[in-house]
Symmetry: C2
Subunit: 348 residues, 2 copies
């Protein structure tokens, strides 16, 4: 009976996608006598929580919340962070029932359900839990795996080439480009290798209406981009460069991280910097390195054939018996292009 | 107003697919007072024409065809071949109107429309012409280009590999296999290179219910399959081997063709042998050679990744500016596999 309200809560929660990171997007609905009387979502990092928005909006209109039900995607916090605990606010409000999509996997902010129950509030858990987990996948991965959620995004020909035999690659897919910018609007950071910067000089910005630019992460092990100008170094977004070369020089605003540049170190460092989600955009060697961490692959195919050329994953090798396997979560096709969202198959 | 009848004519014509070659599949409907009173299709090569089946079926039931309309996918023949001309039969029957999907591109059997008009029968042309042309594409290619209609069928990983780095390839796609057998049921012949025979020892038969086996064509330039046993040489279907090696020996029932083994010669020879359609099934070198003649590509993808491995088209090279381009005519996806029918883009 709460599914339709939870669906609405998920819907409004999505308005915070790409804005609340590394917090999860959260939506909250207040229902009384079977009708929605108020709603709210977590709008941006550091902003008020969804429950608070919904309750305060109701109070402003002098609504009586006694006996009302709160439907919220994530377990309300019981924690003094950037904002006071939502549990106290709920208890004071007179709300008598709270419906929760999923428990908070973060031990710091968790324990809200326990507190509510102690104060005599009925709590129903697990409504549309899978949908809510999907909504919060960046947050869940970040909290439980201590690394960002990893997406690989490639654009290839039908025969799996991301560049022709001469290394040329621009505009393999056209029509699906808006989808790429949409992804950049949701992911906290975008990563490319130095080779891609040298060859394509991409901006890696988000060119959608009201879009926001992701953090740009460049893997420049040897420092070949040192003392040169590239579009990724422009000041319109935060830039982090990983390098092994202590002498490499980048523009002043660029955060230079000198490390062994292993994928593990990169992911740990980005996690510590608050990056909950990383869109890996190339090239072939970088795709090969990050493949084993991929939580999702966004594969864009154009219906062209190159024959000889640069492979998507040129630097890994799997046998026919044990290749990485994926499931198709989404497919979109036009006359001449295909987009697939692929998720790793659960281990058998 | 005739579209729905033509649609039905196309539908029943399809029952002859894979049986009538190198004739086209043809369907015919007789309509009187807005109702279908008889129908027929060309059932097998050398069998009665669709118009004849429909008219004779009506006569058997002592129906009066005076003033009736005949809807037929292809222009009726005016030619004494394996059967007498359909035009005479139509004229005698009393039918007053003939609706034709497309003109017969074959100058030998054509001229039927002219004859009908001379005898006062009203002829309407071009109803669902594109659909009928699609239905007859093997026949049209055969008659106009003097070569078989060419299909390339490959099964690859997401990254365009048809075998792993050790050359292993079996069972890249599973669930879509029935679709492969369905193709073998329609195509007159199937072609593979000697390397594929050596490595996979395929049967290349059609394992669908009531299926018929295609002619098996093997390209064995150097004669490496000489004096060995392979499943493609079994007697359950006609076998043609192209070789440059005069001394190569194959089982007695195998038709050995000694030529330069160029694609052009192979296609010309197969055309002369009555092959109107050829399904090219591998391997990589053979795909590369036949690519420029491909009238359609049937691409089967599994959602696996091999990394290093054997490319679908390992022996051709196209630049990003001028690659072969295709349009998606059909897509089917399951959780873990994708099938696409791709048609060459018309030259711009």
């Amino acid at each position: 009976m709460y599914e339709k309200f939870m669906k609405r809560a998920i819907e409004i929660a999505k308005k915070g996608l790409g804005r609340v990171n590394p917090n999860p997007p959260v939506g909250a609905i207040i229902v009384k006598n079977g009708k929605i009387i108020s709603e709210g979502f977590h709008p941006y990092f550091g902003g008020p929580h969804a429950e608070r928005v919904a309750i305060e909006r109701a109070k402003k209109k002098e609504m009586d919340l006694a006996g009302a039900t709160l439907i919220v995607t994530l377990e309300p916090c019981d924690h003094h962070g950037k904002t006071p605990p939502c549990t106290d606010l709920i208890i004071e409000s007179g709300i008598k029932e709270v419906v929760v999509g999923m428990r908070d996997p973060n031990p710091v902010s968790g324990k809200g359900i326990e507190k509510l129950k102690k104060h005599g509030i009925k709590v129903i858990e697990g409504v549309l839990e899978n949908e809510v987990k999907k909504l919060c996948e960046f947050f869940i991965t970040s909290v439980t795996k201590k690394r960002p959620f990893i997406a690989i995004k490639y654009a290839s020909t039908l025969d799996g080439k991301i560049a022709d035999a001469n290394g040329k690659s621009k505009w393999i897919t056209h029509r699906l480009r808006p989808r790429v910018h949409k992804l950049r609007n949701f992911y906290s950071a975008v990563l490319v290798g130095a080779g891609t910067v040298l060859k394509d000089n991409p901006r890696l910005t988000c060119r959608t209406k009201n879009g926001r630019n992701p953090i740009r992460v460049v893997l420049d092990r040897k420092g070949i981009l040192s003392e040169k100008n590239f579009k990724v170094f422009e000041k319109n977004a935060r830039v982090i460069v990983f390098t092994q070369n202590e002498r490499a020089k980048y523009p002043e605003h660029v955060e230079k991280v000198i490390t062994d540049c292993s994928v593990e170190t990169i992911l740990k460092t980005l996690h510590e910097k608050g990056v909950d989600s990383l869109l890996v955009e190339g090239g072939s060697d970088v795709f090969s390195e990050f493949l084993k961490y991929a939580d999702v692959i966004y594969a864009f195919y154009s219906t062209k054939i190159f024959g000889k050329g640069l492979d998507v994953f040129s630097n890994v090798q799997f046998s026919v018996e044990e290749p990485p396997r994926f499931e198709i979560a989404r497919v979109k096709t036009s006359d001449t292009e295909i987009f697939m969202e692929l998720r790793p198959c659960s281990q058998e």
